[in-house]
Each structure stands twice: as structure tokens, then as C-alpha cells.
Symmetry: C2
DNA sequence: CTAGTTAGTGTATTATCGACACTAACAAAA
DNA sequence: TTTTGTTAGTGTCGATAATACACTAACTAG
């Protein structure tokens, strides 16, 4: 079966930049290509868009097929259209970035006969296509957006300590933050629920756990409240 | 002549949201469709992407063909992919927004047998396709971005008064700004060149003209300077 | 020369930001 | 059980930035 059109059409793909956070640093998820072009090279998960799905649905599907990840925060990043970005033919790619709780997706078994692995954003191997460019734009966007939108919580488990939250901002913004000032600011925003639970199994004083109060945040933004780190 | 592909492909278009500013308010440029679907309805300028051009080139070409506008500030907005956004077939559209000096593009003659006209963002007619959605996202993006990037200057003539500049922010941000505080803030940024020229032909004291110092702004951003209104 | 209109300027109060250091709690090791 | 090591948790003060606010100067038109 084949499809005919009066004018030439570009192929359309989606690519996903998946961010995760652990105790050391910010990581992204890459897959190893098992077909040409760039066979064996690491690349962003992604693939061709079908006609019966929106771009976002397509990104979610590819992400699940290639890495097993589902139900993630996903947002459109940019559409890349350089003429020579794919050596086979004209391919235009819509990039998305995703934020996941890395602890839930620890070791990613190869789902589709490929390998998948987490890499620190500070030591990314050479990537296929223009994926390094996509990745660097995604990283920039995350850094910019995390300061005025509470995206960060997507990278943390539901219950987290203030230390984890601060660490998140330190890693993403790549600078140290004063502990007292940070806690002052967060508490002033009043968007966390203080739990009567504490972290477990640590060899020192256990820190209190908190939850992000999504409801309250939504209500507050309607009244012109401004989240800002 | 026709083109065959193994899998079905969506058609790809670009659409442009062109902003201009005059003495009253913020305006956008619309064209009247002369073919089905939505014949006679107002719509964003745009059209099909060719295989030998990037999306940005495509947006620039369509803009010139349909409205005569060239050499504008142009930035990608978002890619729209709802399944039913075009009644004919599956069409995915990459939206751009453009900022132009309205005074240079006053009355837009119909270039392509269509009519083109400026509309106040506060009184937009019913638009074709999902163009109202695109427009409203563009407006939101402009409002957000103008506060921390000096986009506004793209909407003003090269030489402008501080009153014009303030008016720009008042119109886009939709709130009044204190004259003295505004001037204090702008002068503290030190990104304007004070000219020895004054506005002409006004029935009151003439205001001094200024130019945006693009060079200096670039140098400053490299050193971590933060533009913020 | 008078009326009308906008340009251009400073200060005082309030809110926000940023630097900074100690005690409390707990687990592990001695 | 005592000591050691590690992180949790908390407040103040000075500097800086944000805001509110009103008058005189300059020019044109009638």
C-alpha cells in the first residue's frame, strides 16, 4: 500500500528529551539506535508521527514503546526543520521534553531490542542527527522555566524533603542556594503541605516530608500569584 | 506529477501572528480567505511548507507573498496538531509570531487577490480554522516574553520617545505604569542611546528621541545582565 | 499673551533579597 | 552509654529594589 500526494511532503517525527533527577545530578534518557542511519549511536527516543494521533499522543506512544515510561509531564519544546537534519530525506521533527521521577524508572530494560540508559547532562555522548542541539535547547528551556513555574515537583517523588527540593534547584540552575533563604521563600509561597512523616533509614536526623499542593497552586495562579525561585 | 510514500503523511503549514502597535493599541494583521474552506473568513497569513525551505523561511515567504511584509522579527510559537483542525485533511501547522513597525506597513494593499487588514487585539472577528487559539497563545507569549526580553523595540520605529516606549508596555501588559518609576528603571538599565533629536509636529513640548542600543544589550546579557520590566 | 498639553524630574516609605552561624536530633561506632 | 558525625531546622540585620506621589518647564495653537 502506498499514498500519493500532488506535492512532496516532509516526514514528521517527534523526539523526546526525558529529564530525571537523582542524588548526584540531572540526567537524561537516551536510547541506542539499532538501525541505520547512525546505527549504534545514542539518540533521543522518538519516531514517526501517525495520522490518527496528535503530536503529544505520538510523543507519549513513542516514549512508552522505546523506554516503557508512561504518565509523565510532557511539554512541546520546538520544531526543528533544517534541510539536512536527516541524511535519508526531508524530516521535520517536533521535540518535546518530559520530566519523570527517576527513582520510578531506575534501570530501563531494553524494550524494543535497543538499549536505553540514563546519562548525566554533564557527560552526554555524541548523539545522532541534530539531537545535541535539541537536548541543549531543552536544557536551556528547563533552566528558564523552572524558575517561574513549579515544574520541579515533576522530578521529585510525591513526598519529598526540603533538602531534595533545594538540591533540585541547585542542580538545574547550577548554583548554590542558601538554605535558610530558600526555606524562607518556599514557606512564604505557601504551596507545600507539611506532612507528619519523616524520611526513613538515614544515619542522621530525619527530615520532614512535604507534598506539593497542586490545588492551592492552581487557585493562587488565578489570582495573579507569581511563583518565582 | 505526484509523490508516493509508504505511509500516509500529514500536510504541513505555517501560520503567522503579526503584531503591530499604534497610538491606540496592539493590532494584528489578518487576511481574508478567497478559497474554501472558510472562504471570506479572516485568517492568519500562512500556507503550505515547501520541501526546499526551513519553516522559518517558509513563514517569511508566506508573509511577504500575502501581506508584502519583509524583514521582520520572527519567532516560532508552537506546533498545532489537533486531528480535525482542517476539514479537508490532516494538516499540522507550525505557528510563528512576528513583530513589525506598524507605521511602515500602514495600509496593506491586497497582494494576492485577498484583502489584508489590521485589527485591534481587543476586537478580533471570528477566524478560520483554530486561528483564534493560535492568536491567543501568541498574545500570551508576547505578554510573557516582553517583560524579560527587549522584544518591544521591534514594534517601535528606530527612534522613539520614552512615552512611546511606556505606552508599548502599558498596552501589551494591559496595566498603567508610573511615569517616573518607568523612566528610572529604563535609565538604570542603560540600554538606550539618548539622541540630540526631538519629536516633530506636536502641539506641546516635544519629547526627546532615543534609540535602543542593541550592541550594548548583547554585551550586557553575556555578563549575566537581566532585562526586566 | 493666554490656555492647553505633555516633558521631565526626586524623595521618602515599604518590601524584598542576601549574607551569615548556631543548636537539635538522630544513628553509628567506640 | 558515651562520643562522634552528619544533617535538620531556625532569625536578624543591612542593602537593595519597588512603589507611591506632584510640581515646574517647554512648547503650540488660538
Amino acid at each position: 500500500m502506498s499514498y500519493k500526494y500532488e506535492y512532496a511532503r516532509a516526514a514528521l517525527t517527534v523526539d523526546c528529551v526525558v529529564f530525571g533527577l537523582d542524588e548526584e545530578d540531572l540526567k537524561i534518557l537516551l536510547i541506542q539506535r539499532d538501525i541505520e542511519p547512525f546505527e549504534g549511536r545514542w539518540a533521543l527516543p522518538g519516531g514517526f508521527v501517525r495520522l490518527d494521533e496528535t503530536l503529544e499522543e505520538s510523543a507519549k506512544r513513542e516514549l512508552e514503546e522505546e523506554t516503557g515510561i508512561k504518565k509523565v509531564f510532557l511539554e512541546q519544546l520546538y520544531t526543528f526543520s533544517e534541510l539536512e537534519r536527516d541524511p535519508r530525506e526531508r524530516v521535520i521533527s517536533v521535540a518535546y521534553y518530559a520530566l519523570v521521577q527517576l527513582s520510578n524508572h531506575r534501570v530501563k530494560a531494553a524494550t524494543d531490542a535497543r538499549d536505553a540508559a540514563w546519562f548525566s547532562v554533564n557527560s552526554i555522548p555524541s548523539l545522532a542527527f541534530d539531537h545535541e542541539k535539541i537536548l541543549s535547547l531543552a536544557h536551556e528551556r528547563l533552566r528558564g522555566k523552572v524558575r517561574y513555574q513549579p515544574l520541579g515537583f515533576e522530578l521529585l517523588p510525591t513526598k519529598f524533603t526540603l533538602r531534595q527540593l533545594q538540591h533540585l534547584y541547585e542542580v538545574i540552575l547550577d548554583r548554590e542556594i542558601d538554605k535558610r533563604n530558600f526555606r524562607k521563600k518556599i514557606q512564604a509561597m505557601d504551596i507545600l503541605i507539611e506532612l507528619d512523616e519523616f524520611e526513613q533509614g538515614v544515619a542522621h536526623r530525619a527530615a520532614r516530608l512535604y507534598k506539593f499542593d497542586r490545588q492551592k497552586y492552581k487557585r493562587m495562579t488565578k489570582n495573579g500569584f507569581n511563583f518565582e525561585i
